[in-house]
């Protein structure tokens, strides 16, 4: 049981990292971080990006559920 959820969590984590890295980075550099200029981002997201968003959200939910489940199972 514990091992099963653990493996699921590991898989979900790996997929999550991959999916996030697949996104196009929207954050500005360091200069924007603390009171930089305006970085207004126009341009609508493409279909690929939207599907990627959907996939990421689903994976995120699975990841979250796995964490809670494992936490509950492991609870002393």
């Amino acid at each position: 049981m514990i091992i099963g959820i653990s493996i699921a969590l590991m898989l979900a984590s790996a997929i999550m990292i991959l999916l996030v890295l697949l996104h196009k980075g929207k954050g500005g550099g360091l200069s924007d971080l603390f009171g930089g200029g305006f970085s207004s981002s126009f341009g609508s997201s493409s279909v690929v990006e939207r599907n990627l968003d959907r996939l990421t959200i689903i994976t995120g939910v699975v990841w979250f559920v796995c964490i809670i489940a494992l936490g509950l199972v492991l609870k002393p």
Partner: protein
């Protein structure tokens, strides 16, 4: 002010953006409380309570500040935004050293996007490193040196790997959340997330001071408001260098002929020198704990342990810190603002500063003004960052003293920036904004 806020909420577009941002922040805070599976929650709470009463949190001061207390709880988002900041700093420094990165930076938008992508890869790499380090610390019991309780549920290797992976994935999720805010919300996502974490520590710390010393609390509040006002004042301060653009004909159109200005901020470097200096000063202490022979320390290690370890309210530490900040302010300003480049660009588009020839004299003038302007800026940054250390010795406050230099700079900087962006959005519809 209030009418402006109601007007902001009455605009559907803006309202959606603000609600979206708030929702992401709520998710982010939730993740900061969710413990990583495999952590012994009740034991870690006990250890935390012990650690706060003694000043053990000082070792992880800055990292813990940026994680909003999530780090010492070993939650899913324990690493917080720190890997991303470190990665950005590293890449920023590398652009000076590596020619390929410098070429990318000059390419404009496409190049910047590529650098951002490298930053994201590096963030994940750093996240793996840092999460491994913290799990190892927790496993060996060095995270809470005074605490006898077992922090982790199991010492086996498999659960530890799961924890490391989970925390790394947590960092990537934070990165994504930040980008979502930048994309669809208001303001720069990463800075808003840092802002959230810094502000989250506030009530707790204030309550602690209030409980220990009521008179001190009043003094802290008054001083805090004064500091905030001063910081806002200096952050907004800028020198405007007038630039005149020559009129020119391109085909049948007339271009230019306008006069604008280059705004040079007094504190051009922002918060970054403080982060550099703190992370650098953390190194000797780390080295001393790693390589030091605790039973029979030699001269150097004893010196580091007396002056640079837990008790930092001494002259040596404060002077080093101050000098480092002044140095890094100049260093960072010289990285981010290149007078030669600005002068060249101005020349290309037919701009000039009245009374100064374009080209090299302009570059020299700009660097002269910038150097003089950075002097008060760096002194201000240095003094501001000494405030928490002084307060540490005067009143009983912990390392992440709420009105400390770093936190105030972050709060004011991000706050001003975000309000300005909301205002810019608001002004697309009607003219009266927040700031007059």
């Amino acid at each position: 002010m209030l009418t402006a806020i109601t007007r902001a909420f009455r605009t559907p577009d803006l309202r959606n953006k603000m609600l979206f941002t708030l929702g992401i922040i709520a998710l982010f805070r939730l993740g900061s409380f969710l413990p990583t599976p495999g952590v012994h929650v009740s034991n870690i709470q006990k250890c935390l309570a012990q650690g706060l009463s003694s000043d053990a949190a000082g070792v992880y001061g800055l990292i813990n500040l940026f994680s909003g207390g999530a780090l010492l709880q070993l939650s899913v988002f324990a690493l917080g935004i720190m890997p991303y900041i470190t990665a950005s700093i590293i890449l920023q420094l590398l652009t000076v050293v590596i020619p390929r990165l410098e070429a990318l930076k000059k390419e404009g938008q496409a190049g910047t996007a590529k650098i951002t992508q490298y930053t994201r890869y590096l963030t994940i790499g750093l996240a793996v490193l840092q999460s491994t380090a913290f799990i190892a610390l927790a496993r060996s019991g060095q995270m809470f040196p005074q605490c006898q309780e077992e922090v982790l549920l199991s010492q086996d290797i498999f659960p530890l790997i799961v924890m490391v992976l989970t925390m790394t994935a947590g960092t990537s999720v934070i990165m994504w959340l930040g980008e979502l805010i930048t994309d669809r919300g208001i303001g720069n996502g990463m800075s808003i997330l840092i802002f959230t974490q810094v502000v989250a520590v506030f009530p707790q710390e204030l309550a602690r001071i209030f409980r220990s010393n009521t008179f001190g609390f009043a003094v802290v509040m008054v001083v805090g408001v004064a500091i905030i006002a001063a910081v806002v004042f200096v952050e907004q301060a800028q020198r405007r260098i007038p630039v005149q653009y020559a009129k020119r004909m391109v085909g049948r159109r007339m271009y230019g002929g306008t006069s604008t200005y280059i705004p040079l901020k007094v504190n051009q470097a922002g918060i970054i020198p403080v982060i550099f200096a703190s992370s650098l000063l953390y190194l000797p202490q780390l080295a001393a704990t790693l390589f030091g022979n605790t039973t029979n320390p030699n001269e150097v290690i004893r010196f580091i342990q007396t002056y640079f370890a837990n008790n930092i309210g001494n002259a040596y530490y404060m002077t080093t810190y101050f000098l480092l900040i002044v140095f890094f302010t100049y260093f960072y300003v010289s990285i981010t603002f290149n007078p030669v480049e600005v002068a060249d660009n101005m020349k290309k588009y037919g701009g000039f500063i009245p009374g100064i020839r374009p080209g090299r004299p302009t570059a020299e003038y700009l660097s002269y003004v910038l150097t003089r302007l950075t002097a008060p800026g760096s002194l201000y940054l240095g003094l501001l960052s000494l405030v928490p250390i002084v307060a540490l010795t005067l009143v009983d406050a912990s390392q992440n003293f709420p009105f400390g230099g770093t936190s105030i700079l972050i709060i004011v900087g991000v706050g001003l920036d975000t309000v300005k962006q909301i205002e810019a959005q608001l002004q697309q519809r009607n003219y009266e904004g927040f700031l007059r």
